[in-house]
């Protein structure tokens, strides 16, 4: 392999790697955006909107960087809104619907713990742009983690009804947690280069932290060993197409325009 081929392979892997990170935030940010104005209290409404805003802000930095790497004129919006469903590589967890506030919090919490551990490591990336985005995002994500952990405790250890609802949500969403730790080829390649994070190394810490919060919330840590995966390979749940239909509506209806 000559230098040029090696370079282009690295760029391809880096591009795909950025999507693996950013698609999670895009899809979760979109889900949180659905709740704006419909939350259980004004304070939670503001917090959820704020979290959505943080995530989408991060997404913009990642996609702008990805667009630069692609170097073929594509923009952050092309990457966000003009791919086919099979080309999105977010984990299945983040596309799960806002069934009720317990599901919303459980989904976010299960993501936040991962997100926090991941960004902490990504700060050490040899790629200075990724390291800088990670550093900036980590401040925001540590707030998200605190917010959702607090709500896990409030709902888990609140009333009997809230305990039940929270347990159901955790039990249902648990099957989506293992997918984080199955590396794609881009993730493997980037970890080897010292650009990406070795996600397999985060697994133990992840389940320890999650269990600690659940136990404090008087919730049972699910014992199920059956997990779902596929999102990172672009094989999504039935929810995804509808989410994308809204996300892509304007760009698909009016192609190539400035907004």
């Amino acid at each position: 392999m000559n230098n040029e081929q090696g370079d282009s392979r690295l760029r391809g892997n880096l591009y795909n790697y950025i999507l693996t990170i950013a698609d999670n935030s895009l899809i979760l940010g979109q889900r949180m955006g659905e709740l704006c104005g419909h939350g259980p209290s004004l304070e939670t409404d503001i917090a959820c909107t704020n979290i959505s805003l943080d995530l989408l802000g991060q997404v913009r930095s990642y996609y702008q960087y990805a667009a630069k790497i692609a170097g073929d004129g594509r923009t952050e919006d092309d990457i966000a809104m003009l791919r086919t469903e099979r080309e999105y590589v977010n984990v299945l967890l983040v596309e799960q619907p806002n069934t009720d506030f317990a599901y919303t919090i459980a989904r976010h919490f299960l993501f936040d713990i991962f997100h926090f551990l991941f960004l902490t490591e990504l700060q050490k990336s040899k790629d200075l742009t990724l390291a800088a985005i990670a550093k900036k995002s980590l401040k925001e994500v540590s707030y998200h983690e605190r917010f959702t952990s607090d709500w896990i405790k409030r709902l888990g250890d609140g009333t009997e009804e809230s305990h039940q609802k929270m347990q159901t949500a955790i039990d249902d969403l648990w099957a989506y947690t293992d997918e984080f730790f199955n590396p794609t080829s881009a993730e493997k390649a980037m970890a080897e280069e010292g650009i990406g994070v070795d996600i397999t190394a985060l697994k133990k810490k992840y389940y320890d932290t999650v269990s600690e919060v659940l136990e404090e919330a008087t919730l049972k840590v699910p014992e199920s060993k059956y997990f779902h995966k596929g999102g990172k390979q672009g094989i999504h749940s039935e929810h995804m197409g509808f989410l994308l239909a809204e996300l892509q509506y304007m760009q698909r209806t009016y192609p190539n325009l400035e907004w």
Binding site: C36, G39, L42, L53, D77, S162, M250, E258
Partner: protein
């Protein structure tokens, strides 16, 4: 307290307002002053909260990431305005739950403009440009109103609203500099939002029941008709910059008065919407009441958890 004593207090109170002194929550105030302020401030807070819905309707469909982020930030600002207006109102001795109850039962009103649907992306631009524009005209004088907490809240609200207004105009400008389809989308939004925006400044002076007293308490500095004229005079040149046309064939500059003349406002439509029969009244209330009811178990859990924590603290310290 004797009638004479009350009259004396009232005179002192009115004199303080006349001297431009701020009235603070713990100061003595006439019951009517308290009630009027509860009505107006809660109505204002409700408008912010209900106003999140028509714009929130476009968050998931915003055309670019930049617009999506800006819209989220805007709607979040509105929630923030609602929060500190409710807080200002609570200082007058009413709880937020009571205010919600009044909103949900239909006893308390909110700005009628939010009972119109947002059906295209251009509506988000038109709302920022026209609705926030009209709101600013209404609200800037309130930065100097007599009730301290309201005046202070309004200083912050107005700063953010004027940012929203510029952002809305910029959405319209982008559309108007775009393709024919985009420009048509902007014109269509203007056609639908112009008249409701004019109605936002309130009924004509002849029909406005609260004006005189409100002027005295500095809840109002200008009459509805004066504010409306100010809004029109300021907005028509902006439409010229955009290159779109106000949907009013009678609109024209009057050299003599130095103002724009404008056509008849359809007050029947205004009253129909105020009375709860606008295109979106039922949906807006359904969304608010639905969110409140769906959230009940969450709020109950938060209360129960806080109480448990309190008990744990007591048990620990004893």
């Amino acid at each position: 307290m004797s009638e004479k004593e009350i009259k004396n207090l009232e005179e002192i109170f009115e004199a303080r307002i006349a001297r431009d002194e701020k009235i603070e929550p713990k100061d003595w105030m006439p019951e009517k002053y308290r009630q009027t302020h509860i009505r107006q401030i809660s109505q204002h807070a409700h408008s912010e909260i209900v106003g999140m819905l028509p714009e929130g309707n476009w968050i998931t469909r915003a055309p670019s990431l930049r617009r999506k982020v800006a819209l989220l930030a805007k709607v979040q600002d509105e929630a923030g305005h609602g929060l500190y207006l409710y807080s200002a109102c609570e200082t007058l001795g009413i709880s937020r739950d009571e205010m919600y109850e009044q909103l949900h039962s239909g006893k308390a009103k909110y700005s009628s403009i939010f009972n119109y649907p947002t059906i295209t992306w251009a509506d988000i631009g038109a709302i920022g440009w026209l609705v926030d524009g009209a709101a600013i005209i209404n609200q800037v004088p309130l930065c100097n109103t007599s009730f301290g907490p309201y005046a202070r809240a309004m200083v912050r609200v107005c700063k953010e609203e004027s940012f929203h207004q510029r952002q809305g105009f910029e959405i319209m400008l982008t559309l108007c500099r775009g393709t024919e389809k985009q420009k048509a989308m902007a014109q269509d939004a203007l056609n639908r939002w112009w008249w409701p925006a004019l109605m936002m400044l309130g009924p004509t002076d002849a029909e406005s029941v609260h004006t005189e007293q409100s002027m005295k308490w500095k809840l109002k500095r200008k009459s509805n008709d004066e504010l409306r004229q100010q809004f029109i005079d300021q907005t028509v040149p902006q439409a010229d910059i955009l290159g779109i046309t106000m949907p009013d064939p009678d609109l024209k500059w009057n050299e003599e008065t130095g103002h724009y003349d404008f056509g008849e406002i359809d007050w029947d439509e205004f009253w129909q919407v105020v009375k709860g029969h606008g295109p979106m009244n039922k949906e807006r209330m359904k969304a608010r009441v639905g969110a409140w009811e769906r959230g009940e178990w969450v709020r109950d859990a938060a209360m129960a958890f806080a109480e448990k924590n309190e008990q744990r603290k007591i048990a620990k310290s004893s």
